[in-house]
């Protein structure tokens, strides 16, 4: 559980992390910015993600497609935005490292001169298409929107999803893009990691050439905002679906905080795959559901523990709710068995190793080095991250499940076919999401 690296910080504040591995003639280039939808404000939701799109529309000295020169060099590339961060990556053949650094640094330093109203409006339309395709036109696609809105108060930045509200996207302006860039897109709020077929001395020299002249700026302040539910909330959402689905979620400790790893393993034991308790009970033994899953969704400010299960035909969400609650209560009372914990650890260890097989891309070594650096200031957190898991015990899982997964502090959402509000669990309040 170790990835060797060298870290240096440029005078303008940009952290640079280099990991050497020459087995394949490629380099993973990863740039993280510590900005996500949690940095948006009500009325301008979806902005961080829209901004990510604009980062691919060219910069001052390459005022055209960001993709074209890199694809011509044989690179693959992408980016993504979450509540907590925005990441960009290229996987390039060894000979194209300088090109990738030139391109990343030009958009970090000189994005705005190339940004026109036309590009801005075009990408807004693309994002609205993305929202319709992946949320509005997808069965159960609006359930996460409803869950976030119910779990967090309107002024908490996890109240909305990263994709945002359509009316907010339509209200965004180019001036706001300029202000957002100045605040969040600079060396002091970023982290650069290179992994793969690189010579560290040459890599640092290239990075200094490309990024060294970008002006420093102050790291924007972040406030840790917790959230809690004063009481259970029960909601029902109609959707174009065939089978009703139950969602249940709780507030849990944030990423890397005490209890986070315990709940990750609790998710494995309760609802990850066929041997898990929920699958075994609901799908295999009782056959009241066609799927059942549980997991800790770890995030910076506050995490969510969520359970989902879809009713089999002729079975009710009430049956599912009763069985899910009973399984969680059982863990809260007795904890998992030693044997279940061993199995969860075996899977967690394998997942750790599997995701480090690649030097680049989402989840690869360069991405993980940046994640640790952005969230903890320590790119070498691999071994300590894994230690969090080895310290988990059946009793620690029992205690945190007892403390956090309480029936009086959860959101229960029934998603039902249109016109079938009667299929919701009892006491659910109808809501509308679009």
């Amino acid at each position: 559980m170790q990835v060797d690296f060298t870290k240096r910080v440029l005078p303008n504040g940009l952290p640079v992390i280099v990991h050497e591995d020459h087995h394949c003639p490629i380099v993973g280039v990863s740039v993280w910015y510590h900005v996500g939808s949690q940095d948006e404000r009500p009325g301008r939701t979806g902005f961080a993600h829209l901004f990510e799109h604009l980062m691919f529309e060219g910069s001052e000295h390459q005022d055209g497609s960001y993709f074209q020169p890199l694809q011509q060099a044989g690179a693959s590339l992408n980016g993504s935005t979450s509540t907590d961060r925005t990441n960009y990556w290229e996987v390039v053949p060894t000979n194209a490292l300088e090109l990738a650094l030139w391109m990343e640094s030009d958009r970090m330093g000189c994005l705005l001169p190339a940004l026109t109203q036309r590009k801005f409006e075009n990408q807004r339309e693309v994002v609205l298409n993305e929202r319709r395709q992946n949320y509005e036109n997808r069965p159960y696609g609006l359930a996460p929107v409803a869950m976030s809105a119910a779990l967090f108060p309107p002024d908490h930045p996890y109240h909305w999803l990263t994709i945002g509200w359509p009316e907010d996207l339509r209200a965004a302006t180019l001036d706001e893009v300029h202000a957002f860039f100045a605040t969040y897109y600079h060396p002091g709020n970023a982290s650069l990691a290179l992994a793969g077929d690189v010579d560290p001395d040459r890599a640092f020299a290239l990075v200094e050439d490309c990024f060294g002249a970008i002006p420093a700026a102050a790291r924007p302040p972040r406030t840790l905002r917790r959230a809690s539910l004063p009481a259970e909330r029960r909601l029902v959402l109609e959707d174009r679906v065939e089978l009703p689905r139950l969602y249940m979620a709780w507030h849990t400790p944030g990423l890397f905080q005490d209890g986070d790893a315990d709940l990750d393993l609790a998710g494995d034991i309760l609802g990850s795959g066929k041997p898990s308790r929920l699958y075994r009970t609901l799908v295999f033994d009782r056959r009241v559901a066609i799927d059942a899953a549980a997991g800790q969704n770890s995030r910076e400010l506050s995490s969510l523990f969520q359970v989902t299960a879809t009713a089999a035909p002729d079975h009710s969400l009430a049956e599912l709710e009763q069985l899910v609650t009973a399984e969680i209560d059982r863990v809260a009372a007795h904890g998992p068995t030693e044997s279940e914990l061993e199995r969860g650890l075996a899977r967690a260890e394998a997942a750790f190793v599997f995701r480090l097989q690649h030097v680049g891309g989402f989840g690869g070594r360069s991405d993980q080095l940046n994640a640790y650096n952005i969230y903890l200031g320590d790119p070498g957190f691999f071994a300590r991250d894994w230690e969090r898991y080895t310290h988990v015990t059946p009793a620690s899982i029992r205690d945190i499940v007892q403390r956090d997964l309480r029936p009086d502090a959860r959101v229960v959402l029934s998603v039902v076919p249109r016109g079938r509000l009667d299929l919701a669990v009892s006491g659910s309040e109808p809501i509308h999401v679009s």
Partner: protein
Amino acid sequence: MSSVDRSRLPIPGPPPTFRFPPVLKRQLPNGLRVWTIEHRLSPVLSAVLVVRSGAAADPLDRPGLAALTGDMLDEGSGHRSALDVQDALARLGADLDTEVSADATALLLTTLARHGRRALEILSDIAARPRLAEEDFLRVRDLRLNRLLQLRHVPSALADKAFLEHLYRDHPYGHLAIGTEAGLRGINLPDVVSFHASRVRPPGAVLILVGDLTHDDGLRAAAEAFGSWTDGSETAPVFDRDADLAQGLDGAGRGVAIVDRPRAPQAELRIGQVGSDRRDPQYHALVVLNAILGGQFVSRINMKLRQEKGLTYGARTAFEFRRGRGPFTLATSVDTAATVDAVREALAELGDIRGARPAEAGELALAKASLTSGYARHFESAEQLARAAAQLALYDLPDDYFDRFVPLVERVQVDEVTRVAQQRLDPDGLLTVIVGDYASMGPGLGALGIGEPTLVGGAT
């Protein structure tokens, strides 16, 4: 501190050359071929068992049999119950995927190398000695029927299904692997038992091992786990609908088919025709053609529909090169209000590259470089190498296939691209499938000159 020259883009030097690692090919006495690749870079083992039987072998009246059989393999075997198999795999940190495509069933296992032998024993149980019990069968078939119910509201699945059914009709490629409700209801446990006995057998199957072990250790582990797999095929009926995949392609579907989804916010599009097979001598020219047309972000169709017009989150084309002639498909999801506009633009791009606006030298250079310069990244992990070797096994490709890919793509010329476009893209033979709100697209569609729309059901 020096600073980089911003007046021009850095020009990369020559790309690194790529060599596929050696594949050692051997055979067990029971006929199972064992291919090994040494990949000593992370403590991982990936194994693929490739069986050359997939959904194309489904009987005409029981579509879904191959996929249902694939799903039953890990539902208990030997002394292990269905849940015991899953539990045993999880304890080794092993990921098992069963992938049933038109041409093949592939069992793909990735595990920590130190658990390799035990994981291979479980894989062998799954492939060779599945329990195939009635109670598990009924549960698994119900789960698949319920999945089909769910797909009635998944626009991309409805579009894929309608596209294959209308394009291929009764041809073995004319259905999704999951099959249909009637097909699944018509399948009984003896069908699954027969399908397994006649199609999942040591002769014809290939076991590929890639990871942190020597060739000889790999062969030894394979022999220990799979050596006792005997061939029990004598009494089983043969499912051989995929024996002649060239038959029945003359009547391929064309025109416009609509799956109506009233008030849907997006329209899901598929436009295409019967494409080509994996051993087509023009394979590399077709790959280049596709890259220019719709195979990458900076392709003509994505640049037009997304970057210029803002009608979609993305648009792609692909040739599925199969054992027989697989589909060529343009796939996208567009703003409902722009459905007709999007179909018109897509059809124009498919037509223009045949001559009105043939591929240009710059486009060709970009496509070739993007396919070749970073080729090594496709072969970084054990799983990627195992999947690549599985392609060699499935399509009888030569050992040096991956080494020759780059030079063969580099050799493709502009006029070849235009010629294969003329040969393989027939503007009069295209099938267009739209899953969306018919009421808001109806009248404009007729004016496109691609025929009267046919309304088809979305039932599964």
